[in-house]
Symmetry: C2
Subunit: 318 residues, 2 copies
Amino acid sequence: MKKILIAYRLKPEGLKELEGRYEVTLPTDKAHFSREEVLEMIPAYEVLVPNFSFYTDREIMERGVKLELISNYGVGYNNIDVACANEKGIVVTNIPNTTREPTAEFAFGLLLAAGRRIGYYDRKLRSPEGVSWGVYAEAGLPVYGKRLGIIGMGRIGQSLARRALASGMEIVYHNRNRLDETIEKFYQARWLTLEELLGSSDYISLNAPSTPETYHMIGERELCMMKSTAVFINTARGNMVDEQALAAALRDKRIWAAGLDVFEEEPHILPELLTLDNVVLAPHAATKTMEDRIRMSEEMVQNIIGFYEGRYPISRVN
Amino acid sequence: MKKILIAYRLKPEGLKELEGRYEVTLPTDKAHFSREEVLEMIPAYEVLVPNFSFYTDREIMERGVKLELISNYGVGYNNIDVACANEKGIVVTNIPNTTREPTAEFAFGLLLAAGRRIGYYDRKLRSPEGVSWGVYAEAGLPVYGKRLGIIGMGRIGQSLARRALASGMEIVYHNRNRLDETIEKFYQARWLTLEELLGSSDYISLNAPSTPETYHMIGERELCMMKSTAVFINTARGNMVDEQALAAALRDKRIWAAGLDVFEEEPHILPELLTLDNVVLAPHAATKTMEDRIRMSEEMVQNIIGFYEGRYPISRVN
């Protein structure tokens, strides 16, 4: 019987299909195993299940002498040293299907909250200073009729585009490769260079994967290209943005607002961001609903079963 | 030349079409005229422009001996004693076109912020206690795949339905009268009795007009019919909801969350609501963006010009 080490205390509802056919170890008395505990246990396991906050590096793979599969509990896999996995013949899988809609939904929620100042109003109304009820005072920015620039028009980007289109937005996007014309037509979306997108969009959403090439892809230079009324949304990965430069641009009002679910050094957030009125902050929660997290477990489990038994197509990243 | 009294300091950008053809008075040194100032000036004016927070009652209409038109700067007109206007032959107009999309947009923003806990996360991350970054802790509720019950499926309700449908929601609605089948099909929307809607919806949005019949239409009884996981959104009018009963239901977690842009005694908000974690609050800001507010002025102006010159269709409410 193959042995599976799940680093997190995932709920049993999502793991049912493994019962009786795999030997599953997961923490029972705490939220997750420590790195040290995983290093100690890993030699006996064929499968490891990490998530975005568990860095699965060469040391873990070298200790995991039996490792055949890393079944990531997440769509982004920048937490895994895939080059090392390749070298060792370990298959890596991720879960793009169940993460797609909740992430796009959350990104659109941040977009509305940042543009229409929903986060700001809610905070200020509860503070001693309050907020103005006047006709123009502390007004937000419209979303309807505005241009949304999507950087990374994959599954999540397209699900975001579907929502934005129905909300009266114009869609432009940047990918390394242009999409098929039929997909472009479906979303009424136009490909732009990154520079064109940054300079012309009212809202900009980052939905690309974190890779060595996308590290700090939004920095001082890119922020300077944006409109002073631009609203920037990040539900991808924190390390794709120079957080210091972003905080400075928000502080100096060189861009209008941001909605951020991810950060460079999670769970740490740059203290300055916590003091800024024109940002909406969330704790890497884009897929965080109980139902979605259980569906994510089921997809992760199907990758394991598909890998060993062939009953499901699996989402391999290497 | 007809004389227009605008109770609010509206921006000149939205009033251009009146120039040279009407005599316009509006405050120049403050946000709005007081009730006393309006009472003093009104005898000389043919047109009065109030908004939701300026109650245009019998006293004002009796003093306004020349009044021919009340051109409301808003879509809801519960601030105007329309029965009295009827009696005196004063026409009342409102602005349903320019308010439609921003209000639906804001309602959907509140829905996402309340369900996915965006307001909560933003507040907690900035507080000393912080928020958990764990897999399940402090999780929100999904929106995708859930049922949205729209009470009042008029223009704003339908614009909300369009957004919700593209976000993977199922649409049910309650109106006094069922919509045409073609409209129902367009939104894949099903008519339910109010009781059926309240008992079966995951999200409930109030988008009906405030009238004597809809006063406190959501009270203790209706809140008790809702699911314990229901999320209630109000961008209509505060007096349609028993705010005390709503606050109690939120406090006791008999419903899951609320997103509220309107309140019974604006700008006063029930102090208990300000202390609750499961509510997102906004200061009657559903149409509050500079661009929208200027477009609203233009529509309001077109009602005046349409009334006197016939060049525009006007939105009469009586």
